[in-house]
Structure formats: structure tokens, C-alpha cells
Amino acid sequence: MTLKNNNTQTLEIKDCEILNIATGLRAQNLKEFRDLLQIIHPDCIHYHFWAKKLRAEFEEAEYNNDFAIWASINLHENKLAERLSLINPRMFQNVDELRSKLIEVVTLSLEQDKCSQDTKEGEKFQFTRSDIVLFETGHIISNPGQLKDIIPNLPLGAVYYHFIESHNTSSNIVTFVENAGDEYTDLAIRLSKLDPYFFRLPEMQSRASQIFIEFFQGESA
């Protein structure tokens, strides 16, 4: 048995808020959209895939990211919306690969589907990015067992931060569990299969919570 880290590692649970930043870059049609995709700040790409998770919505959007939603609602290009929505950012090594995929999909639509329509006034795609601000919650975790009781009561900003924004860093809950020792390997595998791209934050929270409950129930049995 190999321990992946020492036992002194802790995870400080933080809540977060994002502060939106206008880039001043806007696309009125698909061609402008593709041109701007090539030059926008990498944070814009991250923002338009993930920030919608923090917005209050009354119904689950049909598509998973801002690009696809714009293509569907404002350009009325459902084929393109489906292709854009299928792009899962977690499947790409870095933002440049993700950017290339977006450009490839949009170029395909421009060439095959001849999408040239302009959006109406006020419906341009507004490229946006954000800054993040972190807040203390008072929770400092030293072992995954403590998360079982904490996760169900986390504010959604903390769910966003610890499952999405902190991806691949030591603040990520999945990373924390992975590094907590071999006895938590199964828990880490089950959590890592939970892809936040497909869930709204309350659902993500509830599913993660269920995984913790099942794991620790099984362990105590």
C-alpha cells in the first residue's frame, strides 16, 4: 500500500463569487464570432463554458454552454448548437486545444450550413470574462470523512469553486480525496466520474453528497 501524501494535508473550504468583465468584443453573426474566437482572452473561453452554472435559471437550458445557447436562441442554428454543446471542456488538455475545437466546429457550420444570418439588435454575442473573489467559510478539512456532512450544506459558490474553478489544483475536492490515501481511492474514482459539465450546481452538490454518504456507509458496514 502506498500513501499518496502525508496526513497533514488540509483543504480550506472557500465560497466564491465571480465579477464579470466586459471585453467590448461582440459578434453579430457567425463569421464575426469565429474571427473573435481566434483572438479572445483564454479566460473568455473558460467563462462561457462554466459561468452559467452560477446564474439563477428557472429551467434547465437545452444546451450546456453560452456559445451553444447563443447559436440556438439568437442565430436559430440548432445543428451548430448541438455540435457546440457536445464540446466538453474537461476533455481538452488546455484552452488552446479547446479554442481550436470551437473554431473547427464553427468553421464547419459556416462552410456546410452557410450560416450567415445577423442577430437582431441587442442579441450579439458579448464576449465576457471574470475575476474571482474567494470568501472564508470557516471549514478546514483534514480528512475526506468530514466532507460527508459539509457538502450538503455548502453554498453553491463553494460547490462551484471546489468542483469546477479549482480543477486540477489542490483546492479541488476530487484532487483532495485522491491525495488523501489509498483507502479513499474508490471514493476518488466515483467522484471523478461526476462530470460537472452536465449538472447544475444543486444537482452536482446532491450527487457528490450521495457518493460520500454511500462510501462512508459502506465503510462503516
Partner: protein, 406 residues
């Protein structure tokens, strides 16, 4: 926690107040100054009236300064406001000169306070030149644009941007309003104060008092628009919508409740046009309310069945937020910040014409359950997104981010 903060926590949640306390802790004792051009009337003054005490309560030494000018200054800034909203107005050199001179005069008085401040927010175009007029400033200066500047008249924007470009950052209500500027442009929607006279809970007696005061029949439906008499608010379009509804629901009553802002010289002319359009219809009530009639407006909103804000251009539309907070269904113009607030069929309806407004009014009056559902959703939507606790959190976050990067 102080009594005031406890009261906010009861409305906005303890978490919201905890975040404000965390953000304000490093700013305790520091000097924060807001500057605008009117202390009464209009959304900016209303926001500051409540935000400044809340900031002081959090330990930030906050003051609110107001610049003043003469007729030509206000003519210039009103034209500037309209031009930023897209009117193709060219402002004369004489008016621009009045603008520059007025700011220079005000700077003489305000310079010691502004140069000593740690944080400054300059609201809207009126006091924008103050930054250049305070060469020994030490703090972080941010320009706040409350206006729908999505399509500004180029000559006016070019004039104004010479003053704005040197700020450390600016912030706008919506991404459409942002411009090409050499600094970061944040997006922060404005807000309402749930504890203010305009938004606090009222007793039934207080609400019902407006029926008698304004000769309204409580047994018949009431539609209401609260706004300044300004063409961009489309009061004439509201009267047209009312007249269309009247054909099928003759018992409908319309209240247009407005007042003047000290920095708006066009109000009287628009009021005359509105009176003319209303003619002799006894069910159209045109009210000219004093700037401090907050409780009356609160009661009117609560006494009404449907609220309209049929603006053609709108920075944000705080009257929409106020009505939503009172659990009322709102029909708003498909423009500016109203789009951010009214989620079709969930928190209200967006319309482009008087006909569209008339259709939605009739639909709602036929569906009381839907009115109730929309009202319920609307209130929760405001609680989550448009209260001043969220607004202040974002402002403090902005300054924290800039300060940490310095």
C-alpha cells in the same frame, strides 16, 4: 453584528452580510467617496442614499458628494445623456465649455476630499472630468456608467472618453453598454434597498390609502408605470397600450406616476405631451409626485395589479426591480437592463410595442394564478440578484481586486 446589519441579514441572508464583512475588513477606516450630480430624484441618488450608510456601518468612512451647476451645465449633461443613449445630438462648444467650467468650479471645493480619498466612484458623465482635475489623487478611481451607452453618438462619446480613459476601471450594468477603453470594464448591475421607504413592507392601511388619495377604484384593475416624464420611458406608448386594453377590459385604470429630477430640464415638456395624449379619460391618472414620495410610490406599486416599464431605452430600470420585489408581474420594454430582469413567462414579459404590452396585460388579467406565480418568482429573483447587498459586494470586490494588483 449591528442592528442594521442584522436587519439586512434577515432579508438578504446571513451569508450575504458575512461576505460584506470579509470584504470590508481591510477597508476599515479608509476613505471612500461617491460623486454624482443630484441628491434627489433618479436611480443613482436612490442607490447612494442607502448604500452610503450601509458602507459606513461596515466601517468604511464613506461620503457622498454632489456637484452643482447652472442651466447650461444641465442642458449639456442632459444632451450628453440622450446622446449616449443614441440620440444624434451635437452639443455646442458653448455647452461643452459650461460643462468643463462647472467641473473646474466643483473641483475647487472637492479637491481636498477627493485627493485624500482611498477609493472614489464617479457616477455618470456629469462629474467625469474630476479625475483630471485632481492631479494629486492617491486612491483608486472608478467611473460608473448607469446609462445605456450601447450606441453612443460618436462625437459625444469621443469628447467624454478623453476624461474616462484615465480611470483605473469602469463599470457598466450590461455588457452591451461597455465601450473600447484602455482599462478593465466590470459588469455590475445596480440594485434596490429592501429596507428603504420605497421597498419596505407596508401595512394594508398604508397601501389602501392611495385609493382615496388618487381617486382610484380598488374594485377595478390598476396598471401603473412609475418613471420620470421622459420620452425614453415611452409614457405615450403606455397610454396607447391602456387604450387598447380598455377596448376589451373597460374597467381598467392607468396610473402614470412621475416626478422630476433636478438634472432633467425636459420633464415639463414631456408631461404636457402626456396630458394631451390622455385627453379627458377619467381613468388615466397622471401624477406628479415630489422626489421624496417614496412611501407613496411603494403603496402605489403594491396597490396595482400590473406594473409597466415600457422604456425604449433604459440603463437598468430600477422601477422594474422595485415592482418585482413587491411580487408584482411586470411588463417591460425589450431594452437595456430590463432584459436582465424579466425572464419571459417566469418573472414578467418583454414587449416591443404598445400592442405587445396590451396583449400581455390582457393575458395576465385573465390569468390571476399566473400573475401570482410570476410575482412570486420575481421577488425571489430580486432577492438573489438585485438587492444592494449583492451590489455592494461586487463594488467592494472590484476595489479589492484592483488594490491587490497595484
Amino acid at each position: 453584528m449591528s442592528e442594521l446589519l442584522e436587519t439586512y441579514a434577515m432579508v438578504a441572508g446571513k451569508e450575504a452580510i458575512n461576505k460584506l464583512q470579509q470584504l470590508s475588513a481591510p477597508m476599515k477606516g479608509k476613505k471612500f467617496v461617491h460623486v454624482n450630480s443630484t441628491r434627489v430624484g433618479g436611480g443613482v441618488a436612490e442607490i447612494l442614499m442607502k448604500m452610503v450608510p450601509l458602507m459606513n456601518e461596515l466601517g468604511i468612512e464613506t461620503s457622498w458628494e454632489v456637484i452643482t451647476g447652472k442651466d447650461k451645465f444641465y442642458q449639456c449633461t442632459k444632451s450628453m445623456h440622450n446622446a449616449l443613449q443614441g440620440d444624434p445630438i451635437d452639443i455646442s462648444d458653448e455647452l461643452y465649455r459650461a460643462y468643463d467650467e462647472t467641473n473646474a468650479e466643483n473641483a475647487e471645493q472637492l479637491r481636498p476630499i477627493l485627493e485624500d480619498a482611498d477609493y472614489v466612484i464617479i457616477h455618470d458623465p456629469q462629474p467625469a472630468p474630476l479625475l483630471k482635475l485632481c492631479p494629486n489623487r492617491k486612491g483608486i478611481w472608478v467611473w460608473r456608467c448607469h446609462i445605456d451607452a450601447s450606441k453612443p453618438h460618436p462625437s459625444v462619446w469621443n469628447f467624454l472618453s478623453q476624461y474616462i480613459k484615465d480611470y483605473d476601471a469602469s463599470y457598466f450594468s450590461l455588457p452591451d453598454f461597455s465601450q473600447q477603453l484602455p482599462h478593465t470594464q466590470y459588469l455590475i448591475p445596480p440594485s434596490i434597498d429592501p429596507l428603504s421607504e420605497k421597498n419596505m413592507d407596508l401595512s394594508n392601511e398604508e397601501v389602501e390609502s392611495v385609493y382615496q388619495e388618487f381617486d382610484l377604484d380598488p374594485e377595478r384593475p390598476i396598471m401603473l408605470q412609475v418613471s420620470r416624464y421622459d420620452r425614453f420611458k415611452d409614457p405615450i406608448g403606455v397610454i396607447q397600450a391602456y387604450k387598447l386594453v380598455k377596448q376589451s377590459i373597460p374597467e381598467i385604470q392607468l396610473v402614470l406616476a412621475g416626478g422630476g429630477a433636478t438634472d432633467d430640464p425636459e420633464g415639463e415638456e414631456v408631461l404636457r405631451e402626456v396630458r394631451e395624449a390622455a385627453g379627458n379619460d377619467a381613468d388615466i391618472h397622471i401624477l406628479l409626485l415630489p422626489a421624496d414620495a417614496h412611501k407613496t410610490i411603494n403603496a402605489l406599486q403594491r396597490a396595482s395589479d400590473i406594473i409597466l416599464q415600457k422604456s425604449l431605452k433604459e440603463g437598468f430600470g430600477l422601477t422594474v426591480t422595485e415592482a418585482m420585489w413587491k411580487g408584482k408581474p411586470v411588463i417591460g420594454g425589450n431594452t437595456g437592463g430590463i432584459r436582465l430582469q424579466l425572464v419571459k413567462n417566469h418573472t414578467g414579459f418583454l414587449v416591443d410595442t404598445p400592442e405587445g404590452a396590451a396583449l400581455r396585460i390582457q393575458y395576465l388579467l385573465q390569468n390571476p394564478d399566473k400573475m401570482e406565480e410570476i410575482g412570486r418568482n420575481a421577488k425571489e429573483y430580486v432577492r438573489k440578484n438585485f438587492l444592494n447587498t449583492r451590489h455592494l459586494r461586487e463594488i467592494l470586490s472590484l476595489f479589492t481586486i484592483i488594490e491587490n494588483r497595484r
